[in-house]
């Protein structure tokens, strides 16, 4: 089954980290991605730019509304995702628990709706 692991982290913490800390943090995500790939579980992954770069669009009364900022303002923000293919929810949870974001934020696991 395919699952998306959505990494929610406090994006405000990143700029405050020292260069060495940032490198260490990025390396942890790289290693995680590699481990997923080695296990044959990785379908795709991406890191997202901060929510300050987000734009939210919706149609109301037939007119499109475009707003600066993310859809939800929350303490932690969606910072990236891993799309994985594993046998079941337990395997997905086990990968989610290894994601560095699980330690400094939270990882939401959602099954993909296969068409």
């Amino acid at each position: 089954m395919k699952y998306i692991l959505m990494a929610y982290v406090n994006e405000g913490a990143w700029p405050k980290m020292t260069k060495a800390e940032q490198e260490q943090g990025a390396a942890a995500y790289m290693a995680y991605g590699e481990a997923l790939q080695k296990a044959g579980a990785l379908v795709g992954s991406n890191r997202l730019r901060p929510t300050s770069s987000a734009t939210t669009v919706r149609i109301a009364d037939g007119k499109s509304q475009v707003l600066d900022g993310p859809y939800v303002d929350s303490k932690e923000q969606l910072g990236g995702y891993f799309l994985i293919d594993v046998p079941d929810l337990d395997a997905a949870i086990s990968w989610a628990s290894r994601c560095p974001a699980a330690a400094h934020g939270a990882v939401e696991v959602r099954p993909i709706w296969e068409m």
Binding site: P87, D88, L89, D90, A92, V109, P111
Partner: protein, 425 residues
């Protein structure tokens, strides 16, 4: 045989199969499709088909195999039909192959693998909301309907039904695996199963007189489930501890009510009404559990029951031992409920003032304000310290919070006894 006798016999056979094998058949079908609701629907259609078919053709040699074959066909048909938009062709093939095993099992019905335990682990998976785990297990393993479950858990049938449907959807869509967890995660996952079984038992226990049939049944069903877990996992000390705890509570059921239905506290119970066979069984389970060398919540609670029973049977006081057991239990659970019971045991050892100091503080845990045993325990202790006015108020709150009329009457009696003492002074 005339047709009425045939109907009667078919129904009797079907009921016997349902009692004996319902959970086993659901577990077998659901494990192969990941879809509990579809397994329930298919099996219920298979039972309906049996009631139409068996009177005419006679009951089959293996009713389980017959039901499994029909249910399997129903599942495949329903996937081919209404759910086509959701199930890809490849997935349907996997399903059909998985259910092919059902056809093989049908030829050797005694070898239908028992996957009820795996299904119980599915129902109490951490991804399932804790409050719905016990109702879910009662429904899928035992076949209880949402109405009966709702009445036992004091919610509306519609709300209970909706939550059960949602939980089954979650199992299917999220891909929760049907298996008994590996060694390293077994203890924590088993705790969730045991907690769900105990929740079912506790709901049944809120009607100790057994006047409400739905609830009374629930304690028996929960004991059946605990028995099942100990049979399938005979080396798990906490499962043994839970069954022992339930047996101890059940053994004293008859003694907890007087001739006119009044509540009888442990200290005033007639020992002749205790079920000694159940008590012996509980004791044997606790010995088996303790030989396995890993202590846990249910073993400690079972041991406490055992200590109370032993005190009344031998007349030998053992309050120091009881307090030690509560200490261990409190260290594990940190529960204010444990702290209350511990305080009552402290009262026996060191007096009521010490016990009042040992009581948890309602100002640090707001839940206690709505917890009847907290106020009843406080009242008892206040009486012993001579603080009658405070005791009267504590009784008042306890009475207001109690939902069992027999216990309410018991508390009222205690309260009014207090008033007459006060007047006599």
């Amino acid at each position: 045989m005339n047709s009425r006798e045939g109907d009667e016999q078919a129904r009797t056979t079907a009921e016997a199969v349902a009692r004996r094998s319902y959970g086993k058949l659901i577990a077998f079908l659901a494990a192969r499709t990941g879809d509990v609701a579809a397994a329930e629907d298919a099996l219920s259609e298979a039972f309906a088909a049996a009631l139409a078919d068996w009177p005419r053709k006679g009951s089959p040699a293996s009713p389980e195999a017959w039901l499994l074959t029909v249910a399997r066909r129903k599942i495949i048909d329903s996937y081919r039909g209404q759910r086509r938009h959701e199930v890809a062709g490849e997935e349907l093939q996997v399903l059909t192959e998985g259910l092919g095993a059902a056809a093989i099992a049908a030829e050797a019905p005694n070898q239908i693998p028992d996957q009820r335990l795996a299904l119980m682990f599915v129902c109490s998976h951490p991804a399932i909301e804790p409050g719905i785990r016990a109702p879910l297990i009662l429904q899928v393993i035992l076949g209880l309907d949402a109405k009966a479950i709702a009445s036992a858990f004091l919610t509306s049938p519609a709300a209970m039904s909706k939550r059960l449907v949602r939980a089954k959807e979650k199992i299917r869509q999220a891909g929760i695996p049907f298996r008994v967890p590996e060694r390293e995660e077994l203890p924590s996952r088993l705790d969730a199963v045991l907690d769900a079984v105990y929740a079912a038992f506790a709901e049944g226990w809120t009607d100790p007189a057994g006047t409400d049939v739905a609830r009374r049944d629930l304690t028996e069903e929960a004991m059946f489930l605990a028995q099942l877990v100990t049979e399938l996992l005979p080396e798990e000390p906490e499962a043994l501890g839970l069954l022992a705890l339930m047996l101890h509570a059940e053994a004293r059921r008859r003694a907890r009510r007087g001739a006119s239905g009044e509540y009888v506290p442990l200290a005033e119970q007639d020992l002749a009404l205790w079920d000694l066979r159940m008590i012996d069984e509980a004791e044997a389970l606790l010995r088996r559990a303790s030989a396995l060398g890993v202590i846990g919540r249910y073993q400690l609670e079972g041991a406490l029951q055992s200590a109370h029973v032993d005190r009344y049977r031998t007349g030998r006081t053992n309050w120091a031992e009881v307090v030690r057991l509560y200490d261990a239990l409190f260290a594990l659970s940190g529960s204010p409920v444990v702290a209350i019971n511990r305080a009552l045991a402290v009262a026996e050892l060191q007096g009521a003032s010490a016990a009042l100091n040992a009581m948890p503080d309602v100002s640090t845990d707001a839940r206690l304000a709505e917890y009847q045993p907290y106020w009843a325990a406080r009242a008892e202790l206040l009486v012993k310290t001579g603080s009658n006015e405070e005791a009267r108020r504590a009784y008042e709150i306890a009475i207001g919070l109690e939902r069992d009329p027999a216990v309410r009457r018991f508390l009222q009696k205690r309260q009014s006894a207090l008033a007459s003492v006060a007047e006599g002074e």
